[in-house]
Amino acid sequence: MAGGTVKYRHLSRDSAARQALLRGLVTQLVQHEHIQTTHAKAKEAQRLAEKLITLAKRNNEPCKRSAQGILYTPHLLLPKLFGELRERYLTREGGYTRVVRTEPRSSYDQAETSILEFVDGPKDTRFMMTAKTVARDRLLGRDNTPVTRTNIKKVTQFRGNDAFEDMVRRFMVMSTQDPDSAPASKQESESLNAESDEIAEKESHKSATMGPIIVPRAHKKAAAKTTQS
């Protein structure tokens, strides 16, 4: 950046405004588990968010005070921070958040946007994408690529396999239920289509016959719809 080495992005604000912005972003992140902003803001908020989780993990009186100083609505979010989030990251050594690049904003400025999210949170995009990829690979009867395999390993390392399998099944049901949700898959491989349809049918049948404990409600609904039609 111009003006020599800069330790952080100034985000076109003076110190107070910048601090206020980052506090707001981090508060929203703790509340909603993921936020979509410009890439620069996401990267800066990430630093503060990681520090906040470190405070939560240390869990003593001074840490509670400084966490209270960061969050805008501490009365609502401190219990969550020192309860749920702390539990989630106790065994993880750093890297509690992730910034994923998304398509630029479609408005006039075409700003680079990113999603800032908690790793292993309920709205973890890598978890979802990996589940979707595995679901698609299973439907098309393909092996997972090495990248997908490493992703599976990363995603299930702390979270466990059950939640992941659930999500994979859910994606499979979704893609068999309405092919409109994945229009590109039709274009991509017409030769594979017949085969994939067969496998998809089998899978949806399986999920329909599966026990009520394993299959979530949404799956059952989807399966019921497919059997009716």
Partner: protein, 125 residues
């Protein structure tokens, strides 16, 4: 100058001397120039004026035509054309073409649909 050069006895007549010298100089110079101009009229009077005209009007570099709008835009937009997007791949989740190192838009929408189902109270999705 005149006072310094003249001896002391000339002091009483100082004012008259100065007056004379001023008078003589103001009168003598035009007379001298006039005589020169009369001697070679073509050179002394007409050439400086003519040169001024030439340098002022014809020989200085000036644009011959107005720069048209398109020419100006071409010049100013040179090197700022849109770049080709070569970093493309197929989304492993849905098979659509997407940019590498970026989340697929279709898949993101689908994720958001799931999240909306799972957390209906959360309005940020």
């Amino acid at each position: 100058m005149a006072a310094a050069l003249l001896p002391r006895h000339a002091l009483p007549t100082m004012s008259s001397v100065i007056g004379w010298s001023l008078f003589s100089s103001s009168q003598a110079a035009p007379r001298f120039l006039n005589s020169l101009a009369i001697a070679i009229p073509g050179l002394s009077i007409s050439i400086p004026g003519l040169l001024q005209d030439i340098w002022g009007g014809i020989l200085k570099a000036v644009p011959k035509n107005k720069t048209s709008h398109s020419r100006k835009r071409h010049r100013q937009m040179a090197g700022k054309a849109l770049k080709d997007v070569n970093h493309l791949c197929k989304c492993p989740g849905c098979g659509a073409v997407k940019r590498t190192h970026r989340l697929c838009e279709n898949c993101l929408q689908e994720m958001r649909r799931i999240w909306r189902e799972d957390y209906p109270n959360d309005k940020s999705i």
